[in-house]
Subunit: 387 residues, 2 copies
């Protein structure tokens, strides 16, 4: 059946038609003048989204590749870094670091809890020799739907006088949640195309500070594809060192235009309202939120599976009968939670429809609920705001 | 803002992405072998939708052009035809006929009422000399959201022994409502691309019976572009006499595939359920249906504007805040009704979202309603059916 589909996993996200159209443009020479202009436009636009004057680098890769790039460019075997560990993606950074014999001090939390500024502060204070090279954490932990307070972490680190870099995974938060690379003192911010930028996967993007460039001078880890210096040198010539995913850059330019037309701060506000409507609707239906209160993500909501409902059955009804695709729990959370992505091109009627589909699917599975409950909460939220 | 838009006027309808993609295919030679194959596939598929073995003709034109084509091909000045007159589109047939000095016996009804089989039977019985050449009526009067019972009209005409042709405008009903060209004895069935076929406007399609071909032999009205014989002759060679809208034929082929995959009878059922959900939601909100009870259309619902709500304000909120575009009342119904199109590519969450947007917009305009009412009625309807 050809109907509207709702890809409500926490990324890849729905690609708007306007971007889909640019993705079907004929290819251009990636060593020619049109590409130079395209890349320049993209980099200029990206700086506005990252809120930075730092260098912007790009890789034909997924976000995980860009995480690895930060490790291999900044550190040497035997170096020590602090890593938040409270979800699949934050723990992946520790995994990569260890693969390269970089030592990790893990701030381990239950999945669903945030890493607090005090947790990091304690570790840095104990490091009297200032051996720690960097603190790595995600702004948004996609696994569990929580948001770490990067602004406060950045402020604390600046005030602490500790030289560690602040490396932040903003894959599932950039262009969705408020984020300020420069004002918050983020040295390396890493994202990818398939979330807030509403693009297909395949392009990763990194903003890198002067302090990070300096540290990279000391790095002894081997690299070729991920070599930041080579990428910077080529990007100064408005090219990439290897074949770039040109089509994704067409799409990125369109995405940046779409975001600029709406206004970045309006995009942030929209995400906050969509998330609020989602949470209100979820709790109105008698379901419970999985994530730590006060830190729930505005890009993905994690919900405890209600008793007696199996994720497989629930998600199958949603997909087959309504065209709504949601995320399940990963690893130890499999079967225990479900996740609704509401990032990127997600607007009022999308949330309205998706929450309706969730209500109807739960109803069909015998969950006790009065029909109309989900949408009443969504509508009540939207009508508080004049947009 | 780049969001999903809901084009809920009673046509042109939302074009599914799968069709949009075919519309961007490079053009082909309309006098070459690829076109021959394309046209053959389209004609074969159209016969299944019209449920006919009659000839299929096509014009690069809107549906109104095809209505004119029927008049100029079948009649002569001074001929007499019966025309249903109960909405803008049915009355247009009389207007065209009179422009060509064809006499019309008008069965005039209030807009919103149907033409009953008895109305037509009475006129035919009075015509003892059997001068009436044809009876013209729409299956679905888009203006007012009512459906005439073509099956019963066809049966009555067959049994009456009167030789008048049955000419039916199925522009806003084919591939949406049950329709049987051959079984119901329809001599000329006229439709266009932008409704049930989910295509952009620009292509009209006609199914014409042997009886109609015979009558056309006697026609003395001048024609060139609309000349059925010329079109038939060229279509036998798998071409059109003039430049065809090739891109729309790419789209039509895709549309026919989409309909075949879902199954035509499933498409009919889906339209019936979407319409039922719409009506249930409308009445649950305390609004009233404009059209004659028992004959309400399953492709477009006409609703009386509630007291104190202005159509312009209401439709502006719907469009600007939710991306939902509805139809207003035409001519004497302007400001008195609004119309929701639910034909073509319209699925469960579309209706759910559109009715939600209507509820929220009415609420914002001060209409007294408990939020959640619209969606409760929609969900209650859908959950009666296992699809």
């Amino acid at each position: 059946m050809e109907r509207r589909e709702y890809l409500q996993i926490p990324g890849p996200t729905n690609v708007p038609n306007r971007i889909l159209r640019t993705l079907s443009m004929p290819l251009i020479n990636h060593r020619g003048p049109e590409f130079e202009k395209l890349l320049t436009n993209c980099v200029d636009g990206l700086k506005k989204i990252f809120r930075t004057n730092n260098d912007i680098l790009m890789f034909p890769s997924s976000g995980s590749g860009a995480l690895e790039s930060a490790i291999v460019n900044l550190f040497s075997p035997g170096d020590t870094i602090v890593t938040a560990c409270h979800g699949l993606f934050s723990e992946r950074v520790a995994l990569i670091a260890e693969r390269y014999r970089v030592n990790t001090i893990k701030i381990q939390k239950e999945w669903g809890e945030v890493v607090k500024v005090e947790d990091i502060e304690t570790v840095l204070k104990q490091d009297v020799e200032k051996k720690i090279k960097a603190v790595c954490l995600p702004q948004n932990e996609t696994t569990s739907g929580i948001v770490n307070d990067i602004e406060t972490v950045g402020k604390m680190m600046k005030e602490s006088g500790h030289p560690a870099l602040l490396i932040v995974d903003v894959v599932s938060s950039l262009a969705c949640l408020p984020f300020e690379t420069d004002a918050w003192g983020v040295d390396v911010a890493i994202t990818a195309s398939q979330k807030g930028f509403m693009l297909p996967p395949g392009l990763s993007i990194i903003a890198i500070s002067e302090r990070a460039w300096k540290l990279s001078e000391e790095s002894k880890l081997p690299k070729w594809y991920w070599d930041y210096k080579a990428v910077r040198a080529k990007m100064e010539q408005k090219q990439l060192p290897y074949t770039p995913p040109t089509t994704l850059l067409f799409g990125l330019k369109e995405s940046l235009d779409i975001i600029e037309e709406e206004g970045l701060e309006n995009v942030w506000t929209r995400h906050a309202i969509m998330a609020e409507a989602t949470r209100n609707s979820i709790t109105a239906m008698g379901l419970t939120l999985f994530s730590e209160v006060g830190y729930q993500s505005d890009t993905v909501t994690a919900i405890n599976m209600p008793d007696g409902i199996k994720f497989e059955e629930f998600s199958t009804i949603l997909r087959e009968k309504y065209g709504v695709v949601i995320g399940g729990g990963l690893q130890q959370l499999q079967g225990k939670i479900f996740r609704i992505g509401h990032l990127g091109s997600v607007h009022k009627l999308d949330i309205y429809a998706v929450m309706g589909a969730i209500e109807m699917s739960l109803f069909e599975l015998g969950y006790k609920i009065e029909l109309g409950t989900a949408s009443k909460a969504v509508a009540g939220t939207f009508l508080k705001y004049s947009f």
